[in-house]
Symmetry: C2
Subunit: 308 residues, 2 copies
């Protein structure tokens, strides 16, 4: 069964690592958000691509969700001694990815080629695609003005009240080669439990992607990133509240209702089954908390069953 | 006593580390070769500036002469795993310097400002100046054609026969701020025991430098990099031979005769005293081999005595 997944960072990577344990990894294509890509110390950083790549390679840092397991921070320590403004954590091994990517981008290579080379070098059989080869950074419109995503997320710790989002220059961006085809030709599409605004949102805004989801014959399933009114990780719940949406799996389902066939929600949210089904979406309840390898597999199995 | 030194890499750094132990480091200005600067993985590398900086900071790797003591190579190992062409050794702590420099150069800062910031951050009181803020890479004309310096030096291991040198775009380069002034206003100038072609040569070819040396009132002393017909390190002897020069301290003296007052040669080369004095250059013989901290000081002391 050919599968395609839309993915943000940590939550997505956990589910995907479960999926490749119970179905053939080479049949899976992952389309990854690059809206939160940014430059740090002249290096091009792609947080979600790296989290997905490291997790599928089995070298992710389970304590933080980002970076490489047991990494050292000698370069970062020296950068601090030199007086550099190093607000972003750069592990020594992680840094290799950023240098490799930045150097090849500067040499004119496409991001998708670089991601593919890094995946191969990491022994990953799954196809990892950036949503686009263009740089389309997320802009967060807030009550304090428009902020770049990392500025909102890291420096301001999500304190400003969100009014909306934009993805700079995305109207002119093309989906990376394989993105639309993988949605159209898949047997099923999985929307990972990622932030609907800043992880899945950018992917849906790449020209052609939302239309491909609306028109594909693939069965489309999403896993809710909201459990019992709270985000499993990150600012999704806060954003929904500030944007006037219901902070629940129902609120997420309403954002995906134009293309979603099946919504997997947490057992804690059983009371939302009827309202979500009323949107024309099939509902499945299961434990969606992935706090162990076993629980990733325990979530991946029913997801695959629902799609086969 | 205000001192100015012209410096290449390891040999120069050893002598300078002796000098700052026996005279006030803040009275010393070091003008450093940047002819062998190059790009590696998109990073701007300045080998001689780094060797001088690390040595004066007391963090140099004594085993190799380049890089930082007890550095790790985790980033480089990962770069290799990713399939990057990493022929240059990049330690994790060393890498911080390259990232810091590259990022600030890309932001439009001058190399000399960056070098100065790095020196301050390393607690160095000596003023370190690149010879120029411009990129003037050394080109080696050989019997196999013209090669970039790192290509000749690292990849070809100095095998091609040298016919001459050029420093790309150097005619249009300006000396870095302070370079000419420090030569004109010093009480004395020390030409370190560095390769006369590819370490001191580029400095002498920066417009205005050779004239400043010829006309300054400062007493000018050089320490021979050639002892008993052999270079202490690197390809200097080979280059002299291939260019048809006498491979000796005399050969080096003849390259500097238009500005040199005093030449410090090794005790092993006492027979060269008369021929060098015949060039109008005062000669002093001493042990010039710096294989310990004590021997660096033992060389620095007579050098300073000769200049005071």
């Amino acid at each position: 069964m050919r599968l395609t997944a839309l993915a943000g960072g940590v939550g997505a990577a956990k589910l995907l690592s479960g999926i490749v344990r119970v179905s053939p990894p080479e049949k899976l294509t992952v389309i990854v958000n690059t809206g939160d890509d940014f430059q740090c110390m002249g290096l091009h950083i792609s947080p979600d691509l790296d989290t997905v790549t490291y997790t599928l390679a089995g070298i992710e840092n389970p304590a933080t969700g980002w970076g490489i397991r047991d990494d050292s921070f000698h370069c970062l320590e020296r950068l601090r001694e030199l007086g550099a403004d190093t607000w972003f954590q750069l592990g020594d091994r992680d840094l290799a990815t950023h240098i490799f990517r930045t150097h090849r981008l500067q040499a004119g290579e496409r991001l998708s080629e670089i991601v593919s080379a890094a995946a191969r070098a990491n022994g990953i059989q799954t196809r990892i695609l950036p949503m686009t080869d263009s740089f389309v950074p997320t802009l967060v419109h807030t009550d304090e003005g428009t902020l770049e995503f990392q500025d909102y997320f890291v420096r301001r710790k999500c304190a400003p009240v969100v009014r909306g989002f934009d993805f700079k220059d995305i109207q002119a961006a093309m989906p990376a080669s394989g993105v639309l085809e993988s949605i159209r030709q898949a047997k099923a599409v999985i929307v990972c439990p990622s932030n609907p605004f800043i992880s899945i949102g950018p992917i849906l805004n790449v020209p052609g992607v939302r239309e491909a989801l609306q028109t594909t014959r693939a069965r489309i399933l999403a896993v809710s990133p909201i459990v019992a009114g709270e985000a499993l990780k990150g600012p999704a719940a806060n954003m929904m509240r500030q944007l006037g949406l219901e902070v629940s799996a129902f609120g997420v389902a309403s954002l995906y209702r134009d293309f979603l066939d099946v919504f997997v929600i947490d057992s804690a949210d059983g009371d939302l089954r009827a309202p979500i089904e009323a949107l024309g979406i099939q509902v499945h309840t299961v434990n969606t908390i992935m706090d162990s390898t076993a629980s990733r597999i325990a979530l991946a199995e029913p997801v695959l069953d629902l799609l086969s």
